[in-house]
């Protein structure tokens, strides 16, 4: 059969950073997938060497719009280890709390994106409405919906009042109720199960070999979570389960993220219950003693790692960042293989790359004729939804029933 090559990207809204996927098709199936990365390289590692440790916190917080607290925490805990600082327990608890609130906002965002990519748009509308609850909380605590600027070297910058803690507790109750319903939908609705099962399959052996991180790996039975394996902040004091699933497909990735939301609510309740009184930060020196440290953090998308080398001055000698998406992109190529073109949007979205607001065109190249056609991401999504509707998976009914239920349990 003739093969057709389709370049996707570098710019479109389902990708965290602009990336370019080259899909080689045999009929409607993806035969091979390649990729070109780096379109959004901003030279941050070099820029860190030219700034002070304190300035670097704010720079690194902007590596990712969603995992901002993840990157700043990963960096400050490296610098604190270099400087030999003991962060007060209350500071560590607040760090943990913000990290888990960030996980809720990230996972609910993903749930909406996944719903949208398969044509289950009421799920997008409601999960994003629920996400506003946690965005409001973060805004109340830090003054910002993203880039919270909570971390500083030696602790956190803002304390929490008893009223804020009470407010968090109430909001978590509401979110838990909604998440339980999402889990019910995910485990009982035949349409959703049929649409997501066996899509984007990645075997356990491949996930281990390719280094799949976070929920992407855990949905393939890779039982790794830095929060449990290499505890940081206040995680050593928390009791929680690492959610692992053996479906190895997009359905499994959905179940893992929903399950993690429930664990996150439990962690937040433990933080609220156990949070000790006392100072939230210790004073940090401007000059950091020479040395090198490797720091890990379980971001919503998987393991985030930073390496920091100090030369004894107020600026680092080297800062190295590896964000989880880079670890997961190796797996995407494998997941796309042998899937239908109609499933490409949900497979790419299922590793949870961040959302960018740029919508550009896909060029479709017909290898036989050498002709170049153009398909926008939105068109590819529509094509996917229509393709599955013709094959018996139609979300119209579920969309209606879902919104009926949601209107009844307004919060």
């Amino acid at each position: 059969m003739n093969r057709i090559k389709i370049p996707i990207g570098p710019q479109h809204p389902a990708l965290k950073e602009p990336e370019n996927f080259q899909l080689v098709l045999e009929g409607e199936k993806i035969y091979e997938a390649g990729m070109r990365l780096g379109y959004n390289h901003r030279g941050m590692e070099k820029a860190c060497e030219q700034r002070t440790y304190l300035q670097d916190i704010y720079l690194l917080e902007r590596v990712c719009g969603i995992c901002s607290h993840s990157h700043s925490t990963c960096f400050v805990q490296a610098v604190e280890e270099l400087a030999g600082l003991q962060v007060p327990p209350r500071g560590l608890y607040i760090r943990t709390l913000i990290g888990e609130l960030e996980r809720i906002h990230s996972h609910l965002l993903w749930l909406g994106v996944a719903g949208h990519e398969v044509g289950f748009d009421t799920l997008l509308m409601y999960s994003w409405r629920d996400r506003e609850i946690v965005m409001d909380l973060l805004c109340e605590i830090s003054g910002n919906r993203v880039n919270y600027a909570m971390n500083t070297i030696g602790g956190v910058r803002r304390d929490l009042t008893p009223a804020q803690l009470e407010n968090i507790s109430k909001s978590i109750d509401a979110l838990e109720e909604r998440t339980k319903y999402y889990i019910q939908v995910a485990t009982e609705e035949a349409t959703l199960i049929a649409r997501l099962s066996k899509v984007g399959f990645l075997s356990n052996a491949d996930a281990l070999k390719l280094g799949a991180a976070g929920p992407t790996g855990r949905a393939c039975g890779v039982d790794r979570d830095v929060r449990r394996d290499d505890p940081y902040a206040a995680y050593a004091d928390m009791e929680f389960k690492v959610v692992v699933d053996n479906h190895c497909d997009v359905y499994g990735r959905t179940l893992v993220r929903l399950g993690e939301l429930m664990e996150t609510y439990s962690i937040i309740r433990q933080v609220l219950k156990k949070i000790p009184e006392g100072p939230i930060a210790v004073k940090a020196p401007r000059k950091i003693p020479a040395g090198e440290v490797f720091s890990r953090y379980e971001a919503p998308r998987g393991e985030d790692v930073h390496y920091v080398q100090s030369n004894g001055t107020e600026k680092p000698e080297r800062v190295k960042v590896r964000a989880p998406t880079l670890a997961n992109l190796s797996s995407v190529a494998k997941m796309l293989e042998d899937n239908y073109l109609a499933d490409a949007p949900i497979v790419i979205a299922a590793i949870d790359p961040c959302f960018s607001c740029t919508d550009r065109a896909l060029a479709i190249k017909d290898a036989r004729k050498g002709a170049l056609g153009v398909m926008e991401w939105g068109d590819l999504r529509k094509y996917g939804i229509e393709w599955h509707r013709r094959n018996g998976i139609d979300f119209s009914d579920l969309n209606k029933r879902f919104s009926k239920f949601m209107e009844r349990c307004r919060i």
Partner: protein, 161 residues
Amino acid sequence: MAKEEEISGQIAAKFPFLAGQVKIQRARRLWADVPADKFMELFSCLAREMGFSALCTITGLDAGDFFAFIYHLAKDDGIVLNLKTKIPKSDGHWKSIGEIFPVGIFYEREIADLLGVKFDDLPPGPRYPLPDNWPEGQYPLRKDWQGLPVTAPAKGEAPGE
């Protein structure tokens, strides 16, 4: 720290040149300097036989007359071994570990682009992360790099293009 000491002992038993050389920085953090000629054998053994099943990343460093590489290897129980090796900058050739950890190919391409290290056995593929039209011989993560040379715009070309 019993587990860390046990691992340090196991490494020293298999590779006597590392006896007493594995530094335990704190719980779950080990560091070791390895000569370049012994590196691949040790790396392969750690990944395939000693349970270091994840490569967190590879850090490339410009260390004066040398390029240094730190391979951050993790075990499932949270222990990280930071394996450091270095090669002379004048040579600049190093080996790929892509066969053991395919994810490492991304990390190696990054080091090749930003530091100018040549990985001899990297599979063919697009560069990462610099653009395709990035000038030859410009390696941003080298300490002496001062930014791209400023050239006068060619005739008919708008400034800044």
